[in-house]
């Protein structure tokens, strides 16, 4: 197993809500639930600070060459003071399209979509339910999925009606789209996940989790889906004609509490995961073998972000600290 060298910790104002690297990996946005966001370089130097949003922050995004933040005040603004037009209602997340050309934000029943000129022509307004979460299709920057009460809806930009729907009547906490565009997965308010296979127009419902599934991550090759929902990491194969259907998943233990965060490294060989008590587990996948490395941290793990190119992972904690861990061979 590689040796870990820690850079930090950096103390922020509140528990770490999100960690997001810029596409080129030169900056990491460290966003606490409340207070200033901090921009950090890969060597741990503070490169800048961005004022927090009143009542709390949402997940930031890198768009059009600068950092954009959002929050419970319903505002979107850049690190350089620019703003984007929004309505009323909290904004919990920003996300940039895979080609970097658009920025999306869910606000109430609207999915706001901005282009580089700030135009909102592609926005989806007055959706049937509030946008609990949304995800771009990594393999098609013109497609985006929303989840809200009742299920998921998949849209093509410029069209007001969804090109696909995935209704089950429940509600979701989060949604993710597999990198190859085949699978859409939702982590639900009830202890379950729903999967939608676009190639077969086929829904799957996976139950049996102990808690709400907060941690969900596809491997970069889309062959694995890692999920939390208990004190083990459950990894489903997403290959073959049926994907996880009828297959026994790999269950990886070693946690002391619910798995709250999971993230695959860009090379797909490793996953970093964390629980609420501070157990950080690295899993290395080598064929059918899985090698684990357990690291005990001082506080619960609330966010993990792999550097886009280097063997470096940022780990955020619920006590407001963030550390960079360098994985040395």
């Amino acid at each position: 197993m590689p040796r870990l060298t820690e850079i930090g910790p950096l103390q922020t104002d509140d528990h770490i809500l999100a960690l997001v690297w810029s596409p080129d990996g030169t900056e990491l946005a460290v966003t606490p639930a409340t207070g200033q966001s901090v921009l950090v370089t890969p060597d741990g130097r503070v490169a800048g600070r961005v004022d927090g949003h009143a009542l709390g922050n949402g997940q930031p995004a890198w768009f059009d060459g600068e950092w954009w933040t959002c929050g419970f005040d319903g505002r979107i603004r850049s690190q350089n003071g620019k703003t984007l037009p929004t309505g009323r209602g909290i904004i919990e997340k920003l996300s940039t399209s895979p080609d970097g050309g658009r920025l999306a934000a869910g606000q109430g029943k609207d999915l706001l979509v901005f282009d580089n000129a700030g135009a909102t022509d592609a926005s989806l307004r007055g959706l049937p339910a509030a946008v609990a979460d949304f995800a771009w299709n990594p393999s098609n920057p013109a497609e985006i999925a929303t989840v809200g009460a009742g299920g998921a809806r998949m849209f093509r930009l410029g069209e007001s009606e969804p090109f696909a729907r995935f209704d089950w009547g429940g509600a979701s906490l989060s949604v993710a789209w597999s990198p190859d565009g085949r699978w859409l997965v939702t982590g639900d308010q009830t202890p379950s996940v729903h999967l939608y296979d676009f190639t077969r127009d086929y829904p799957l419902h996976i139950q049996g989790y102990e808690t709400k599934v907060r941690a969900m991550a596809f491997s970069p090759d889309s062959r694995k889906l890692a999920t939390g929902g208990s004190s083990v990491l459950t990894v489903w194969p997403c290959t073959g004609p049926s994907g996880p259907e009828g297959v026994t998943p790999v269950q990886l233990d070693g946690f002391d509490a619910d798995v709250l965060v999971a993230s695959f490294a860009p090379d797909g060989c490793q996953a970093a995961t964390g629980d609420d008590t501070g157990v950080l587990l690295f899993f290395t996948f080598d064929g059918d073998q899985v090698v684990r490395r357990r690291v005990r941290r001082d506080a619960g793990i609330s966010a993990i972000a792999w550097h886009p190119k280097d063997p470096l992972v940022a780990v955020g904690h619920n006590d407001g600290t963030m550390s960079l861990l360098v994985l040395e061979a």
């Binding site: 639930a33 009143a54 308010q189």
Partner: protein
Amino acid sequence: MDKTPVTILTGFLGAGKTTLLNRILTEQHGLRIAVIENEFGEVGIDHELVINADEELFEMNNGCICCTVRGDLIRILGNLMKRRDKFDHILIETTGLADPGPVVQTFFVDEELRDRLSVNGVVTLVDARHIVEHLDDSDEAREQIAFADVILLNKCDLVDEEALTGLETRIRSMNALAKIHRTTNADIPIPRVLDVGGFNLDHAMEVDPHFLEPEHPFEWGGIFPVSGSTVSVVTKAAPDPSMGIAVFPVAGPEDLASAREKAVRAFSDEAASREPGSTLTADGALYEMILKPGTQSWTLKTGGASHIAIFTEHHPEELEMTIAARGTPLDVAAEESFHGHHHHDDDVTSVGLEYTGECNGKKLNDWLSTLVREKGADIFRMKGVFALKGNPDRVIFQGVHMLIDAANGGPWGTRPRHNRLVFIGRNLDRAELNSGFRSCLA
């Protein structure tokens, strides 16, 4: 872990919720209060402590309306609870047209919220001037009153005292547990709204000491000594077109209680109509006296009894009613007023039950489980205090629709062990509830 109190603010459109919210946010009460306001609320409040969110309703159990909860609240409150800088109080505003059920249910079903937050109370604002029309045609308006722990009867300056009293009576018949405050411009000391204290069954007794007594189909009963074969029943007022009356021969004043039981049965029979000037008989049958303005009289045949027990649908004072022999009013030897039926035909009512002694825990659990499974859709709220056999502590119970919860209420100590249970709901069957509860006694 200290739980953060949550107050749910509801009320029909225009009732004054925004005015109250502005008071709460601007007064110097020393509390840091987060307000979760609906994005499409009546009037948006711009304030650094106001969070706008759109309602995201979802059903927990595949379409069961009783388990519809608010997904947005679970996410937002979960986020707020993780923060280092906690709030002293959280206030959730519902839209004027919303059923408050899903908001309350959210705190029953989500374990994380239950662990960290406690619903301190549901506060309902009522527009005193316009609520009557809403009560007649809006399920939501009735449900908002039914769910309330505190009701602010607002805009009282626009309504006269008589109308206010009538409105309070009507609201009280729907929700016997809520504290009612009269306000103008939602002007009320903030602690009366925020420090509701959650569970307070005793308050129902403060408001209406007869609340937990069984309802009777009559409001009054009295025993008169009689000597002749007939007496007269004389009325001078006619507040209603008619009134039920049943008369029984009895041995003396001590028979009032036994006669009352007979009267309950008599009042469930079909009534024979009697115009003024006609004859009534002390035979235990139910008669319907046709009331007319001015002095009217009926001849009452006593059947030779030494005493007669008379039970009337309304209190005699309302009709200026007397029982007279040869023109002289008779003195009543024993009398009792009863908790009568409600005066309005609202389908939403309160039913309170009370029994001294102990309950069998298993029987009680089985009965409540069956009850909420079968009738949960119509039961908005339930609150109770139980003395369970073998348990030295009070058991505090509350429920919303099909969701029920019990907690230890501490030792009974020297207090008498008894069981109280209150239902607020639609089309409640008092007799059935009473019978079910009684079957749980140990």
